[in-house]
């Protein structure tokens, strides 16, 4: 059964020479771990093909990627449902802020005309981009936006417009309420307090 295990040296059940090892030892090390995730390559990769055709196809690919994101077939994930009664109103995502906003309008207008050279639209676009950074709107911007809304030729539904106008009004009122009225009530004590209390950070 076991054969000559103890006697003499390793006696393999097959002819070791058939797989290329001489009768001497020097068998390769036993592999103790899986191969590395990023193995070293002995040879550097061949450089990529270059040429007019290749460049054109690459540019096409990048353009297609951008275009597809703007088509109506691109479905964005909707926001998770929240119970807005429990949360401060300012946390509710406003339609303007979402990336879906301007893009869905562009999608509905797939056949219609929008001109990027239209200054009003460009300013709006800049403001939207800035908004994504800040998350806040100044009064000026809201006014300009409302002005743009009226001038815009984009075929928005009247309902959407009305809803957005309503939100704007809400936000304007909210903006006004950002400053706590109590700050400047005690005009006399204001300076004195800040001198005494060095614990609070001053901005």
């Amino acid at each position: 059964m076991a054969g000559n295990k103890g006697r003499g040296r390793a006696a393999y059940s097959f002819n070791i020479e058939a797989v290329g090892f001489a009768r001497g030892e020097k068998l390769p090390d036993v592999v103790l771990k899986p191969p590395p995730l990023f193995p070293d390559t002995d040879y550097k990769a061949v450089p990529l093909k270059t040429g007019e055709g290749e460049d054109y196809m690459r540019a096409l690919k990048q353009e297609l990627r951008e275009t597809m994101k703007r088509m109506p077939y691109f479905i964005e994930t909707p926001e998770e449902k929240q119970d807005w009664r429990r949360l401060p109103r300012e946390l509710m995502p406003r339609k303007k802020c979402k990336k879906v906003g301007p893009k869905s309008k562009k999608a509905t207008d797939a056949g219609k005309v929008t001109s990027l050279t239209n200054t009003a639209d460009v300013l709006k676009k800049i403001e939207e981009l800035e908004k994504r950074d800040d998350g806040e709107k100044s009064d000026e911007e809201t006014e300009e936006k409302e002005g743009n809304k009226e001038k815009s030729k984009e075929g928005d539904d009247d309902e959407d417009d009305a809803a957005e106008q309503e939100e704007y009004d809400e936000e304007e009122q909210e903006e006004e309420n950002d400053y706590i009225n109590s700050y400047f009530e005690d005009g006399d004590d204001f300076g004195a307090d800040s001198d005494d209390n060095m614990d609070e950070a001053t901005y």
Binding site: Y43, Y56, M57, M71, T77, K112, L129
Partner: protein, 533 residues
């Protein structure tokens, strides 16, 4: 479907259609045919979302449906069709080379939208072309229609299956889903439309009538209500025809590399003559006589009949066997061995991969084993003239990566290892499959890396887009050089450097994706051709 294919499909769907379509699509690819409610339940998505996603997928020919017993409609995803999205740039570029900008835009619109009616395509393309033209010029619908007809005649675009015309006498309720049918001979039939019109340019700001957006809006809606003359007849890009074209291109360039320009032109002529007569999956083309080939050579080519015959003999005698002689009538009957050509190309790809990965000595061993079919360890060392230790090392390296396989030939019925021959051999089909699988993994890695690079620099990218928009608007309103300079300086020099690096990396990754897809095309064509024999 292998894990690598599913992962790649997931990345492609997500990039092109968003997360929801990706979730539904990948689920269908994994599980196979399923009805609507089961999909919604298994993926945990709302029914509404699933419906939207399925509509998008069906529109783009990625999912098909079938009515099963008891009126249940089941949806099935086509994984291989999803992978074709990688090849869109190549399809569009090919149309550009064959039918110039008009053809390019027609195919691009069809690919972006999945299916469209001819009138919709013509209008859209005319508008897009008008945009690029000088002020005052417009693109006529007739010209676009002509290109469309040419594309249909050469089978690059085809009709989608149609809703069958129902007779009014049918009393029962309508089926839950139509069974779409298409007649072979109608597939490329262009409907008789008289599309008259010119492309419309987008209004520039000077013409903007701020006071009457509503009037314009009304006009638009009334225009849409006009009856569409070819309602219900949808067109799609015929990917198989493009693949046939790519295959022909590859064979011609292989012949040009191996022999010379004239031989490749002869082969190109033969392939062109066989386009319509030979189905795309045939192992060889219909026999063509030397006389026919002579008559069909391109007009500019001035080679005599004798020279043509010499070339044909040379091609037929070549060990690669791209061209074969099948008879002597008509000055010699010649065929193109499509299957052999694809096999040679796949083999050349494998050889090239071995050479670049393991070195030229390994490649020598690989080609040796390919040529001799089965070799023992000792024979490999002798024939390759490589010392035993190194030869053994190389063989095992290739064996571990599955380029080479071991064939056991037992001498005795008990398969005792000491009395068995172990022969090294290359199984081209399985090596090709293995390489194809690696290609899918490679592209998935490339896409992931590109997305990672873009995400890392997202803030910087957005900032640069903002600056560009500001500059564009300021130029439009006529700003001074100083102001433009100021705005441009908002992006610091190191940031510019970073953007340059990012752009270079993304370009490289994109170009790599396209080139790996070329290898995928070759290997898939070879595997398909082998399986169909």
């Amino acid at each position: 479907m292998t894990q690598a294919e599913i992962k790649l499909c997931s990345l492609l769907l997500q990039e092109h259609f968003g997360e929801i379509v990706e979730k539904i699509g990948v689920h269908l690819i994994r599980t196979g045919s399923q009805p609507l409610r089961v999909i919604a339940h298994d993926t945990g998505t709302s029914l509404d979302q699933v419906k939207k996603a399925l509509c998008v997928l069906i529109q783009h020919n990625l999912v098909t449906y079938q009515v099963h017993k008891r009126g249940v409609v089941e949806y099935e995803a086509q994984c291989s069709r999803v992978l074709r999205m990688l090849r869109y740039p190549r399809y569009i570029y090919t149309s550009k080379t064959l039918y110039s900008d008009t053809g390019e835009l027609i195919v691009e619109e069809l690919l972006l939208n999945g299916k469209m009616t001819m009138s919709a395509v013509v209008k859209k393309v005319a508008d897009r072309l008008t945009e690029t033209m000088e002020d005052g010029k417009t693109m006529d619908y007739a010209e676009v229609s002509n290109t469309f007809v040419r594309l249909a005649d050469t089978h690059f675009v085809q009709r989608c299956p149609l809703v069958p015309a129902t007779e009014n006498s049918d009393p029962g309720p309508p089926p839950p889903a139509p069974t779409l049918v298409i007649n072979e001979k109608d597939m490329y039939l262009v409907p008789k439309l008289s599309l008259i019109g010119k492309g419309k340019r987008r209004r520039s700001s000077e013409e903007d009538a701020a006071g009457e957006p509503k009037a314009k809006r009304l006009k638009h809606t009334t225009e849409n209500k006009e009856p569409i003359p070819d309602d219900g007849i949808y067109w799609q890009a015929n990917l198989d025809r493009f693949h046939q074209h790519f295959r022909d291109q590859t064979i011609v360039s292989a012949v040009a590399n191996r022999m010379d320009q004239t031989s490749s032109e002869i082969v190109r002529t033969m392939l062109r003559m066989s386009e319509i007569t030979t189905p795309s999956c045939a192992p060889f083309t219909q026999p063509l006589s030397s006389n026919e080939i002579f008559r069909s050579l391109p007009v500019g080519y001035n080679i005599s009949k004798q020279v043509l015959d010499q070339y044909l003999t040379l091609l037929a005698d070549d060990p690669l066997e791209f061209v074969g002689k099948s008879g002597d009538s008509g000055g010699g009957m010649y065929v193109i061995n499509l299957h052999k050509a694809l096999a040679s190309l796949a083999t050349a790809t494998l050889e090239s991969v071995v050479q670049e990965r393991f070195g030229s000595r390994c490649a020598r061993i690989f080609r040796l084993v390919l040529q001799k079919k089965h070799l023992e360890q000792k024979q490999v060392e002798d024939f390759a003239m490589i010392p035993a230790k190194e030869a053994k090392d190389m063989l095992y390296k290739m064996l571990s990566e599955n380029f080479i396989s071991l064939q056991e030939i037992p001498k005795t019925p008990d398969h005792a290892p000491s009395r068995t021959f172990y022969l090294y051999t290359v199984n081209i089909l399985s090596a090709a499959r293995m390489l194809l699988h690696r290609c899918y993994k490679s592209i998935a890695n490339l896409i992931e890396r590109r997305q990672f690079e873009t995400k890392e620099n997202k803030r910087l990218l957005e900032k640069s887009q903002r600056v560009e928009a500001i500059i564009a608007s300021m130029q439009a309103t006529g700003a001074e050089e100083e102001q433009l300079q100021e705005i441009e300086e908002m992006i610091t020099a190191p940031e510019r450097q970073q953007l340059e690096t990012l752009k270079r990396n993304v370009n490289k990754l994109d170009a790599s994706e396209i080139q790996v897809d070329e290898t995928i095309f070759l290997l898939e064509s070879y595997i398909e051709s082998t399986m169909k024999r």
